[in-house]
């Protein structure tokens, strides 16, 4: 079963029955209910707020449940400039998020340090966390964030639910 058609419907079987793989079903559920951890550190957070309010409505993609507790969130959206003083706090929150978890680096600063080529700013959050999606822009428009979210959903649909998403668990076994 390919990624494009994760489910199959057989008209010969009576009732509302579809066939699918466990991986595809789990991925479908995970990808369409991503609960973000809004790591708003600078002006990107304003666009993040705009994306979650009615005009852009991130709820259309099932990611409207901003969780301010890392224990309940699936995707950390690092929105803004990560200073060295803040960096280990971000890492600590990331470590508190349960697997499976993903990371979106929103905007130039979170992706690469942006215009802050400076002694005080971490040059990209990927120095500390594994980033799945980078979003360009300073700050990115809400559409760009939604596009990044859709890219992440696409990526999740292509993953093997247990082996890829619970990597640390599998390695420790």
């Amino acid at each position: 079963m390919s990624v494009e058609t994760p489910v199959a419907y057989d008209s010969k079987v009576e009732g509302n029955v579809i066939f699918t793989k466990v991986d595809a079903a789990i991925n479908w559920m995970r990808g369409n209910s991503l609960w973000p951890m809004p790591m708003g550190l600078a002006c990107c957070a304003i666009e993040l707020m705009a994306a979650s309010s009615s005009r852009y409505d991130i709820a259309r993609f099932g990611a409207e449940v901003m969780r301010f507790s890392p224990r309940q969130s699936d995707v950390m959206i690092v929105a803004g400039t990560v200073t060295y003083k803040m960096a280990l706090a971000v890492k600590r929150i990331w470590d508190q998020m349960p697997e499976p978890k993903w990371c979106i680096a929103m905007g130039a600063c979170a992706s690469s340090g942006g215009m802050y080529r400076s002694y005080a700013v971490l040059q990209g959050i990927d120095h500390l966390l594994p980033v799945d999606v980078y979003i360009s822009g300073c700050p990115p428009r809400p559409e760009a964030l939604l596009d990044g979210l859709m890219k992440l959903q696409k990526k999740i649909m292509g993953e093997r639910a247990i082996e890829d998403q619970k990597r640390e668990l599998v390695e420790n076994l």
């Binding site: 060295y84 080529r117 002694y119 971490l122 040059q123 999606v133």
Partner: protein, 200 residues
């Protein structure tokens, strides 16, 4: 304004080393040793009840290297006064005024953090912007903009930022602005980072 400066000079003869007027702003360069007495006199007798700002300047490669600037304002008389004094390079130590104007507490902590000027008798001279344990004073002219590596376990670390030649990268020199801050320094271009090239 003249009245205020005359009062000050009458009370502390010889303390005012230089008086400068620029666009209605009065700056007095005073002796560091009497800075506290002058500050107290300014607050109590001349009614400068508000310390607007406390700044420090690094005159790199000239002696004396350090300069402290106090911006005073009198609410009742509606006048500003600027007090300055200098310190030699090997002795960046200034008297605190945090007991005279409480707002100076955090200003002096910032000056200590960024410029490494120690304020004698300050009640709590800790870093205020950088983290405890950071070994440098980043606003000094001989500190590179890209930073230096440091490591404070469990608190923070820092690495050198890739500057790629500019723009507006300051060089530690006493030259003019054009020498000090060219629009760009010519370095070989960096290859694009692979992390931005692939797409899932």
């Amino acid at each position: 304004m003249d009245e205020v400066v005359n009062k000050l000079e009458a009370r502390f003869p010889g303390v005012v080393l230089e008086r400068k007027e620029f666009r209605g702003e009065t700056s007095l360069t005073i002796k560091k040793e009497t800075a506290r007495e002058v500050a107290l006199f300014c607050r109590d007798e001349l009614a400068f009840d508000y310390l607007v700002d406390l700044a420090t300047i690094d005159h790199f490669q000239t002696e004396p290297r350090w300069e402290v600037v106090y911006e005073l304002y009198s609410m009742s008389a509606n006048i500003h006064l600027r007090l300055k004094y200098t310190m030699p390079e090997d002795e960046p130590e200034a008297p605190t005024v945090s007991d005279i104007w409480p707002t100076a507490d955090w200003h002096e902590r910032e000056a200590f953090d960024m410029m490494g000027i120690r304020f004698k008798d300050h009640p709590d001279l800790r870093r205020i912007l950088m983290w405890e344990g950071y070994p440098y004073h980043p606003l000094r002219k001989d500190f590179p903009l890209e930073g230096k590596p440091s490591e404070t376990p469990d608190v923070a670390f820092s690495e050198v930022a890739p500057l790629a030649g500019g723009p507006f990268v300051t060089a530690p020199t006493d030259g003019t602005t054009q020498v000090r801050e060219p629009r760009a320094r010519h370095l070989p271009p960096e290859p694009p980072k692979s992390k931005f090239l692939s797409e899932p």
